[in-house]
Symmetry: C2
Subunit: 156 residues, 2 copies
DNA sequence: CCGGATTTGACAACTTGTTTCCATTTATGG
DNA sequence: CCATAAATGGAAACAAGTTGTCAAATCCGG
């Protein structure tokens, strides 16, 4: 019943891989009726949650992925009328992005549906277990965080 | 201190996404000295842990990804001399795969280094938290498991 | 034994994300 | 003010995985 902390940790890692795949797949079906995908939903969420309209590099930093990856999804979101660019007074080439009216409406509906889903799900777990899970996942993320390490920038 | 189970669950989902990316990145660096990547390491592990030499579709089913994805990595592992194909008495076109001598040696070293890593890491967590994390992650995986749903195969 | 369904590998296109390179814009220090 | 460094978008190549198609091999029901 207590096989070894190290072995449980290995299982946590495998669970994270499996769950990541399941979440993306589930999210694609969840967003399909709104013409979105998991990736675009995540970028949309980052834009929606930002206090002010944000530039692509700001969104990328907040999401923990590269700016080029975000740029692709943002360009698609603009094409679909979900997101709108506006001039950046501080940078001519780097516009700010915010949701359009349609984007706000789509986001509102998705957030509502998501809220219903997690509430239905949350009955399966205790608060103590959920908080413990957060502790473990956060601790693992901190331990594996991309540390600049010896990236001090090679002195030329 | 207890904001809402639903909100903690949302944070668990975001943590899974973030951790998946961090794990893959970390694994790539971890395997680099042995000429492997995270993806190939995972496939190699599935082959190593199988009781008997396995076919590509068997490995894929056990890993929860598509056979085509596994096939790509297996072909690369064969090229690198990590994995070896042998005739499948039950299927002429679908060979069985097992580790080569070199593959067994590489696997042994990687497993040893991984073991050291998780043991060092495991000091940061309590057994209770780790088991709670497993309960939550397993429960979420079960709830989102790709269920055939209405895929009963359209009657033609 | 035969014929159709299923499995399987090969191949190609697509999605998501990363890395790399280049050109332009912005920032900074003398 | 100007030269150089940093930030930024665009494009291309790559990695990993998915889906789809095709042909060969296997399986199964009659």
């Amino acid at each position: 019943m207590n096989p070894d902390k190290a072995e449980i940790l290995s299982n946590v890692a495998l669970s994270v891989f499996r769950l990541n795949g399941l979440f993306i797949e589930w999210g694609n079906e969840f967003c399909l009726p709104h013409g979105l995908t998991s990736a675009r939903w995540q970028v949309m969420g980052a834009i929606a949650l930002a206090a002010q309209p944000s530039s692509v590099p700001q969104i990328a930093a907040c999401m923990g992925i590269t700016r080029q990856g975000v740029q692709k999804q943002v360009n698609l979101l603009v094409e679909e009328g979900i997101v709108q660019s506006r001039p950046n007074p501080a940078h001519r080439r780097s516009p700010l992005y915010a949701l359009t009216r349609q984007g706000q409406e789509t986001y509102r509906i998705l957030r509502q549906r998501w809220q219903q889903h997690v509430e239905a799900l949350s009955g399966d777990f205790s608060v103590a277990d959920l908080e413990a899970a957060i502790r473990v996942l956060s601790g693992l993320a901190r331990a594996h965080a991309a540390r600049p390490e010896t990236n001090e920038k090679e002195v030329p």
